[in-house]
């Protein structure tokens, strides 16, 4: 898949753990792990909005298209 998720880098920059983010956005740790490891097939706008809100970032900071 050509879309990669930079969740790890954003969490590091914000000094936030995955567990803390999962509590803030109301997602399970398992689902956030799926997103972080690039195994997710799709992301809901509501999830994207919650993550961007909590990490104070734009969707483009989280998702990146890689030309394979």
């Amino acid at each position: 898949m050509g879309i990669s998720v930079d969740l790890d880098a954003l969490l590091r920059e914000r000094g936030m753990s995955l567990t803390e983010l999962s509590e803030r956005v109301g997602l399970t740790l398992a689902n956030l792990s799926i997103l972080k490891t690039g195994k997710a097939k799709a992301i809901r706008f509501s999830t994207l909005e919650a993550i961007c809100r909590e990490l104070r970032c734009q969707p483009g900071d989280l998702l990146r298209y890689e030309n394979e």
Partner: protein, 173 residues
């Protein structure tokens, strides 16, 4: 994506599983009886109980054929019910939409083909006059059975697509 089944449907599923278990035990008993009948016909030495004997022009070979067909039908039904029980167990666990259930429903369809095949063989024997009215009274080929097989295969197909959609949904965050 699995969820707990509410108590009443769970009780129904449990009752169905119990009923299936009882019927499977009865089928084992039936298969033992059929094996005994077939063995006694082959060996000729073993006496058949009076309720297993049929009067009329049936030869031992015909009776052996019917006993073999009956045994095949019983085995098919036993396997079919086992698969059905496994499907119901997943319903009770609240997680029925999985690809393994699609495989199970498809296997149920194939066992139904076997049962229908045996039924047709018995009908053909009845139509050709080699059977006795004590052995079979049905001399028509069941269209309902054939229709049911088609429905089961279509359901297996739908199940497979549904399970794939659910697997994809599990990867939506």
């Amino acid at each position: 994506m699995s969820g707990d089944l509410p108590a009443p449907p769970r009780r129904v599923a449990t009752a169905m599983l119990l009923a299936i278990r009882i019927v499977r035990v009865l089928l084992v008993v039936a298969s033992v009886v059929l094996i005994f009948a077939a063995t006694s016909l082959v060996l000729r030495g073993l006496p058949l109980p009076s309720w297993m004997k049929v009067s009329g022009p049936l030869t031992d070979g015909m009776m052996l054929t019917f006993a073999s067909l009956g045994l095949l039908e019983v085995v098919a039904l036993y396997c079919l019910l086992g698969l059905l029980g496994e499907v119901i167990a997943t319903v009770r666990a609240g997680d029925p939409f999985q690809s393994r259930n699609a495989d199970r429903v498809q296997a149920i369809g194939w066992w139904m083909v076997v049962i229908q095949g045996v039924d047709m063989a018995k009908t053909i024997l009845a139509l050709s006059g080699v059977s006795h009215e004590d052995m079979t009274s049905d001399k028509t080929i069941s269209v309902t059975g054939l229709g049911a097989i088609v429905v089961v295969f279509i359901l297996a197909w739908v199940f497979r697509i549904g399970a794939r959609m659910r697997e994809e949904l599990d990867q939506v965050v």
